[in-house]
Symmetry: C2
Subunit: 713 residues, 2 copies
């Protein structure tokens, strides 16, 4: 609901979260001596906390060997953090008292709020109000809490969390259960955590708050986000942008499919459009993955190493066994990753190190790793076309020496993923050692390729971000092309709902779209006059803002070349409306590849543009490319380049360039004109004379600015 | 190269492989006392073998405490198995001697054969000849060998393999390195192996041989295949079909991308068309996966449990935590898996077991697993719509009791996948216990969904197989519809190369395709006569078998309604050829959805059919659906149902049914007429009058039966 935070506000947030995530004292509200109760489990889990623990319980003097207090007001000092384990109906009172006592933050582990129906939602709203009014930071409700291993804070019921080691991965999950699942999956990969948080219903502390916190936390090297619904997409995007500039952010968004009802019951949040969320998160700078295993694997490798920014990073493959090397090569190719040819100098070094039977291109197949294996890695790594490497070697006697050498010489290699098969215990012990040196180890060739894909994606996302910064540093006026002209066209039209095709085309034309020569006709005599003036054949169309599918009702007549044709067209199109017909007469445009280009406003992420193949492609072709608006010029080019290669080939380079320009312009229009609810240019035809908008549907909000768009970029 | 084996031959093969995979005595040719040498490593790895070991070495008396022999002829008895670790040039001599001595089988671990160039290929061919001539079974060359843990046979150099436990998973990999990698990945999942084989260059023992061996091996419960190139696809399909009828087969085919050069250097095999291989393997009854992790996870779950055959299995989801449950629900939906509503009776049982706040539909969200958790599982499992279940519960104190209860009550549940997060060691110890009871445990929600997808796919593949058996048991004549009529049309045409459009349409018509009314015209006067006879408008086409893209060269004239139009059409189409023009004049068919339907012969798998959207869909739409031919009627329906849903909707149910019939007929034609090299019906238009073939390109082999098709089904 709020605009992008100014730095001062962000700083305050961070300070607030320090009392939450790095407390010196903790009050356990609802503490119990019974370990089967939530308040008892909490006392057990918190046993290792080095600061003061204040059990809060009206009827006990001592709990777990510690003096108990009747309420948060009675503790010797105000606790930094109150962990609240009381029934929903008692939560508000505890929070009031906490705020009054000077407690810094509260975690509400209890469920039964917005996810449980109207009564719970009302209660949750009161907590929200209290937090805003008093400044008490509140995590939850409906979360399993959080774990901060460096601080030995285990603010959750789950007993096993005390085993989670401190490390450099931060997890921010919407679901408390997923937070714990992801934490244990990270631990299984030999890595420790800097912070693992379940956001829950996010009555106060949300993703953006925690992102800003971990962005400035030096123990966090990479961040994993698990998202279900996103209440305020633009606020999230801004926080990701700030964080990703400093350290990698990986995001997984649930809801590829229609799972609305169950999701709603879970956190009370709508799941939203997955494709939009994916695009928005990537545009903000996150590496977006599709499932929890990928989330954990991605944040693991990115907490270990990171490649230099690049549009298309070049990867070197070195393998001790051909079969697994082939799987890696295949997977990288399927992911569209460059495995460039090596320089002749590099090849001759490799040739001097290997017997002639091995494959010495990229991939380099060394045969069983021998004594020269690390020298080969160094040769490949030194090739100027190589930004990162993936290495396969089975765990054999020689490989054990290899791991030692790798550890020693890792500093002379580019970011490297090491894939190895063999007895599990050996691999696990090596993994953490190599990770400390910036080499990430996985045990399956395909997972190695996935890890490399994450490094490449992170490098690409950073490159796009750098390009955007350069662009913004340049001429500002190029970033909102045609917006002023469009404003003049739209002015006076607001409140109209659907624009008619002529009005819509005027807006498109104002921002730089080519449109056919045309005449608006109120009378049949106007049509006849227009027919004489325009080049033949013409198209005669019914002009009616309320008829958005004109062709389907017979409102479009093509190939009108003669006076006789014209009379037929007039009669037919006139019959397609029950009111008094108006017409648009246009010069007919030659054949060409048909595209669609449009934009709508997403409930979570605001303005979006979509582009893709037109015609039957809209119905059963590849899904369109979606991006949030505005796009940078580089972002628009990237969006166009993501369309099917055969379609780009059919359009040709000049139309591809023109399309990127139009995507850029349309994005700017949507971003600067919140009163534009929807635009559809269908079809946009690629002709010999360039791209021409053959139809235009534009829908304005009834009252300017009061539409579904809640947050402007 | 050979046809499907008769049972007697298969039985002989199996006996041959028993001496290979379950030897009572082993000769190690090239044995060495130096553990750094291959022949030394082998002696170490074989230390646990309970049978006789005969080290073969010309210059040593004793190796590793065992009497050494100068050659395989000198051992006290002919060894069942010779493991050959000598340089390539010495291999042939060793094999000759082995065959002469009565050795049963040889493993050649050495590389340097077909994968290394012409000289190696010639040597390999000699080994092939020797094997065929003498009956000596040969595994390899260019393989890391095999592991048979039940028999304590570790016929490979890799030292760690002695740690691999006996169990119920069989691995058959083209690459020795992949075989070892997959074996250790299986072990990490807590499972043992019945057999793990690297096929290598497959000079004799191939996938089909080993499949038949493990099919009849009672210790094998499921089989994983890793394939690079496939030399003889039909032989492989037949072996998969035999095996999958008894136990699950999972297959991974390398080569989604163009990785030809490196692949060729690896095993000397061509990688082939991935989409064809995927379809063929599935049609044969395998569960096809895309990467090695998936291969191991799939064979793991399928070695534990298997669902009853079904076209669309219904899955119940029960979760102790909503967030991970949501991830599972989303992933199942994305995989197109049914999560059906529960019966009212089931719901009322669940209602009586759960507090009101939880979500009680399918998925059932229990909140933290309580005492009634297993009862809820039983209630869901008893619902008649539920064929399998996926369960999520975090590892907490209560969950440990749950695991014990699950173990005890597993017999009363349908096939179940148990997903649990928590400390790794605990999960690992539970996994094997639960697996023995038919419940497979994984630690990530998405991997749980994947395991369930494998069970569902296996059930679907078996259902399709059952439908095919029923079909074959029915009227045989329906399985090759129209084949005889087509034969009459094709007779006399062979040797012609490309058929012209009129000949092609006659063939299509013979097998049941509708085609436009048409007249073949040798002279312009014929065209004029035809124009009078046919309904207007007509299409005038150049008739020339050598011009396959008629439209592109101006050889097609549409909308010919008047005599004037006709003269223009004649002149234009005549100008499109340098020779004497002939014409095809056709009644023009009304508009409709455009499709393509065709068939080619794949180098590995023989006859295939392809179907998909026509028009621009061919170029930048969804990729076409590919299947090997012949298809069963059910298989043809399944292929059509795999097209984009919006396209099926646009066609309507009657055209969908008709298309399945035509796919069935086209498949039968391709399967029974090896002289037909290629067929393209582009477009096949879905009109008000049904599907009409508007064009037909048919290419025949120059000499009947001498085409690239090597193996008929």
């Amino acid at each position: 609901m709020s605009p992008v935070e100014p730095p001062a506000q962000a700083e305050m947030t961070r300070r607030g979260l320090t009392r939450l995530f790095a407390p010196k004292s903790i009050a356990v509200v609802g503490a119990s001596a019974d370990p089967e109760k939530a308040g008892g489990a909490l006392m057990t889990v918190l046993a290792g906390f080095p600061g003061a623990i204040y059990p809060i319980n009206r009827s006990a003097d001592m709990i777990g060997g510690k003096t108990a207090y009747p309420d948060v007001d009675s503790t010797p000092e105000p606790a930094d953090l109150a962990i609240v384990a009381v029934p929903p109906s008692a939560v508000l009172g505890v929070l009031e008292q906490s705020a009054h006592a000077g407690v810094g933050a509260a975690v509400i582990c209890t469920g039964g709020f917005a996810e449980a129906g109207e009564e719970g939602a009302a209660l949750q709203h009161q907590i929200h109000e209290l937090s805003r009014r008093t400044g008490l930071r509140v995590l939850g409700p409906n979360t399993s809490g959080f774990v901060a291993p460096w601080q030995l804070v285990h603010a959750t019921f789950m007993p096993g969390v005390a085993e989670l080691r401190p490390g450099h991965v931060a997890i921010i999950a919407q679901s408390g259960g997923v937070n714990l699942a992801a934490s244990f999956m990270t631990a299984q990969r030999g890595l420790g955590l800097s912070l693992a948080v379940g956001i829950g219903n996010a009555v106060d502390v949300d993703f953006a708050d925690v992102l800003d916190h971990v962005a400035s936390d030096p123990t966090t090297h990479a961040v994993a986000l698990h998202l279900e619904g996103v209440a305020d997409g633009r606020r999230l995007m801004a926080a990701i942008r700030r964080t990703a500039a400093i350290k990698p952010v990986v995001a997984m968004k649930v809801g590829r499919s229609d799972i609305g009802e169950f999701a709603q019951s879970h956190t009370g949040a709508m799941v939203g459009d997955w494709a939009v969320a994916k695009a928005a998160l990537e545009q903000a700078g996150a590496v977006v993955v599709e499932n929890l295993t990928d989330l954990v694997d991605a944040v693991a490798v990115l907490s270990t190493t990171r490649m230099r920014p690049g549009a298309r990073s070049g990867i070197g493959i070195v393998t001790g066994q051909a079969g697994p090397g082939l799987i890696i090569t295949d997977a990288l190719a399927a992911a569209g990753i460059d495995v460039p040819a090596l320089l002749p100098e590099t090849k001759s070094v490799i040739e001097s190190l290997l017997p002639p039977l091995t494959y010495q291109a990229n991939p380099v197949d060394t045969g069983r790793p021998g004594e020269t294996f690390v020298e080969i890695l160094q040769a490949v790594g030194n090739d100027p076309g190589i930004d990162g490497m993936i290495v396969y070697a089975l765990q054999e006697h020689g490989t054990r020496d290899l791991v030692e050498t790798l550890e020693r010489d890792a500093h002379s290699l580019p970011p490297t993923v090491f894939v190895t098969g063999g007895p599990g215990a050996e691999i696990a012990s090596q993994r953490a050692q190599l990770a400390d040196k910036g080499i990430w180890t996985v045990d399956a060739p395909d997972r190695g390729a996935f890890a490399m894909d994450c490094l490449v994606t992170d490098a690409r996302v950073r490159h796009l971000h750098a390009a955007a910064v350069d662009e913004h540093a340049g001429d500002q006026s190029t970033n909102r092309p045609g917006a002023e002209e469009a404003a003049m066209q739209i002015e006076g039209l607001t409140g109209h709902g659907n624009l008619d095709e002529a009005q819509g085309k005027a807006v498109l034309q104002a921002i730089g779209f080519a449109t056919p020569r045309r005449v608006v006709c109120d009378e049949t005599t106007d049509v006849e006059a227009a027919f004489v003036r325009l080049a033949k054949p013409v198209v005669v169309k019914l002009l009616d803002a309320e008829v958005t599918h004109k062709s389907a009702v017979g409102g479009v007549h093509l190939n009108v070349s003669t006076e006789a044709d014209l009379q037929v067209a007039l009669a037919a199109t006139g019959a397609a409306t029950s009111g008094t017909p108006r017409w648009l007469v246009e010069e007919q445009v030659g054949d060409g590849v048909e595209l669609i280009l449009g934009g709508v406003r997403d409930g979570s992420f605001g303005a979006t543009v979509a582009l893709g193949a037109g015609g039957t492609g809209v119905e059963w072709g590849q899904p369109p490319i979606v991006r949030t608006a505005p796009l940078t010029r580089a972002g628009a080019e990237e969006a166009v380049a993501s369309m099917p290669p055969a379609l780009l080939d059919a359009m040709g380079p000049s139309a591809v360039k023109e399309l990127a320009d139009l995507v850029h312009r349309l994005g700017a229009l949507l971003a600067t004109h919140p009163e534009v609810r929807e635009i559809d240019v269908n079809p946009l035809r690629s002709t010999d004379q360039g791209l021409v908008a053959l139809d235009a549907v534009i829908v304005l909000d009834d009252a300017t600015g009061a539409g579904p768009e809640r947050n402007q970029p």
